[in-house]
Point group: C2
Chain length 424, copies 2
Amino acid sequence: MIRIKNARVMTMVNGTEILNGEVWTDGDKIAFVGTPTDEQLKTAVFEREIDAAGGVVMPSFKNAHTHSAMTFLRSYADDLPLQEWLFDKIFPMEAKLTGEHIYWLSKLAILEYLTSGMTASFDMYFEPEAYVKANIESGFRTVLCGSVSGEASNIERLKGYMKQFNGISPLISYRLGFHAEYTASYELMEALGELSRETGLPVSTHISETEKEVRECVEKYGKTPAELFDSLGIYDNGGAGFHCVHLTEHDMEIFRDRGVYAVTCPGSNAKLASGIAPLCRFREMGIPIGVGTDGPSSNNCLDMFREMFLVTALAKLREKDAAAFPAADVLEAATAGSARAMGLDDCDVLAEGKQADIIIIDLMQPNMQPLNSIAENIVYSGSKQNVALTMCAGKVLYERGSFFINEDADRIYAKANEIINSMR
Amino acid sequence: MIRIKNARVMTMVNGTEILNGEVWTDGDKIAFVGTPTDEQLKTAVFEREIDAAGGVVMPSFKNAHTHSAMTFLRSYADDLPLQEWLFDKIFPMEAKLTGEHIYWLSKLAILEYLTSGMTASFDMYFEPEAYVKANIESGFRTVLCGSVSGEASNIERLKGYMKQFNGISPLISYRLGFHAEYTASYELMEALGELSRETGLPVSTHISETEKEVRECVEKYGKTPAELFDSLGIYDNGGAGFHCVHLTEHDMEIFRDRGVYAVTCPGSNAKLASGIAPLCRFREMGIPIGVGTDGPSSNNCLDMFREMFLVTALAKLREKDAAAFPAADVLEAATAGSARAMGLDDCDVLAEGKQADIIIIDLMQPNMQPLNSIAENIVYSGSKQNVALTMCAGKVLYERGSFFINEDADRIYAKANEIINSMR
C-alpha cells in the first residue's frame, strides 16, 4: 500500500469540501480516505509514505477530448481559421503519419498530460495499435473514441477495434464513435445508430464546433447535427459531443433527454475563433459537462489549468455575468464530469474502491497564497507548476518535475523533432 | 560579469528572430549580445557562467498594470460583478490595511511575478513607502503610478510622492496618475492636467473598464473618460490607460494622437465580465499596447503566460478571426510594449547598454516540443513552469523554483495568512 499523509483531501464526493486526513492506495485502487485510527495505522503495511506537506490531494483531471499524437503539429500552423487549418495544413501532414510516429508523438502528449495532473484522455486518432502501446508502456489510462469517417463499410473497422482493444489492459477501453457529420456519409451514420441500438453502447463525436458546420448540415439534411444524430438513433444510449459551441435549444433538449455529455474545449474554440459554448445554459438544463484540451495543434497546449480558467472566464464574458460558472462547478466538470463522459465511472472521485487516479497540489507557492479559498485558488490562480505528484492506477507517473513512464523524456523530444523534420 | 551561454537569444530588437549565442551582463546592464570571438572570451572575467542549455534568453516580461498588495484578497470575493466586488467587498477590507501589511503582501506578489518571468510592475496602491521598501529589499523593479482620488487638494500628496520616490533607487520610479474618473472630482482632474502641462510628464489612470463607467461619465460630463481627460490636458504628454475595454473610435483617435499606451488586462476583464478590449483596432490605428495582470483579487493570478494567451485568444473570439493578434505581436506587447508604457525604455529589449532584465525559458519540457516555432510555443503553449531563471538589474532573483529576494518565501506566506485572518 501507499500512504499519502498530511493532506487536505478534496474527495469531490461532497463538492469541494476539504477534509484533513490521508489517502491510502492498494494496487490500482483507493483503500482508505479519511483520518486513520491508531489501530488502522498499526496494522497497515506501507511500501511507501508520501508526505503531502499540507497540499491538496484530489482526483486527477481527465481530458475528455483530445488528439494526442497531434503534438507534431504544435505551433506548425497557427493563426488560421478552422477549415483552412484543417483541410490545407493538418490533413496533408497527417497523411504522412506512420504507427511508429504515433507511438512517439503520443508519449510526448502523455508527458504533458502528467505535468498538468491529467491521468486519462478520451482520444480520437489513427493507428490505435501504436497509441495503445504507448499508453500501456507509460502506465497512462486512455479511452479510445472511434474515429471512423467516409463510407458505411468503415463500420466494420470500428467493430474490429471494439473487439481488439476492450479487455486488452485495465488501462485501455474503446468506445463507439465517429469523426463528425461533415466527414461521414449518411449511410455510415445510419450504421452507427444501428450498432448503438444492437449493442446498447453510447456514441461520441465532434459536434457543432463551428457555425459553418451547423449551417451546411442544415442545408444538406434539413436538420442540425444533433437532430440528425438523434433521428438515426445515434444518441439512444447517450455518448459525448465534443465542442458543442453552436447547439440550438432543441439540440440541448436532445442532449438532456438522451443523457449526452457536452464536452467543452474552450482553448481550442478560442484559438480557432469558433466561439464560446453556452455552458451556463447546459448546466441550467441539466446537461452533464466534461472538459477537454482538444489536440495540441489547435490549442496549443495540453494544460487543464488553462482550460479550467477559460471555462469560467469565457462563460462570464458570454453571459456578461461575473457570477457565471463558479469555481466548484469547474472542478466538478474537469474531474468527475470528464471521467463519466469517458465511461470512467470508477475514476471520478476519491472513495474506497475507486481507481487510484490522484494528484497532489502544492499550496506552498506564491500563486496559492493566502488560503482564502482553496477551490478558487486552484481554478482561478492554479498552474501546472502546482502539480507536485500525478498518480494513475496507483502508480506515481510524475513527481516534482520527474517522469516515471519507462522512457527518457529527452529521447521523446528528440523523436518528435525528428518526425516533424522528416515530413517538411 | 555574468555570462549566459548556449542560448537561443530572442532580443526582441528584430521581432521574435532567434540568434544562437550568448548574453553577458556587467552590473545592472547588458554588456554583450551575440557570438563572442575567442579574443573576447579570453579577456572577459566572469563571476558566474550560466548554461542556458539551449533555452531561450529573452527580455523579461513587464507587468504594465497591477495592484500588488491585493494578494490578501485573492479568492476572497470571486464570482461577483465589478461594482459590487469593488464597493462592497474590496474597499471595506482595504480600509483595514496598514503599511506593515502592504510590505508583506507586496513581497508575496513579487514572488509570483518572478515565477512568471516578470521583473517590473506598474503598480497603483496605497502606502507607497512600505511598497517601495519591499521592492528595494527584494531587488525588484517597480514603477509606482499615482493613485490619488477625491478632492483637488490631494494633488499635493501626489507632488510629494513624486519628489520623495524619484531618485530613491535605480529600481524605483514614480509617475503621475490618479485612480479613475469615477473616484476623482472634476477639480482634481483639472489640477492633474495642469500639473502635466507644467512638468511635461505623462499621466496614467484606469479608463473605460466597464460599460457602466463610460455611460455614467457621459451622463455626468457629456464626454467619455478619454474625451474628458483630453479636454483637461491630462493626455498632453501621453501616459497609459489601464483596461481600455470600452474605448470609442474617437477615444482611440485621442490615444493615437497623444501617444497614450493602451494597457490591456484580459484576465481581469474576463473574470469580472467587463468585456474584451478591441486590441486589433488599437494595433490598426497605431496605438501602442502593453499588458498587465491587474491585481490578484480580480484575476486571480499574476501570470504573464496566462495573460499572453488571453490577449490573442480573446482577440480571435472578438474579431471571429483565428488570424487576429498573432504570437509575435503578443510577445512584443508583453515585453517592450509594457516596458515603454511604464517609462522603462532602457528595459525593453536585449542590447548592449540596456538594463539586464532577462529571463531564460526552458524548452526541454513537453509543452515546448517539438520546436516548430519557438515564439508560438511560448505564447500558445508556454507556462511559468518554463521559466528557468529571472534576472532583474543583473541580479538573479529566481532560478529553477528557488527565490533570491533576501526573504524566506514560507515566512511571506505565513504573514499573508496572518494578515487576512486578522481582518475577518
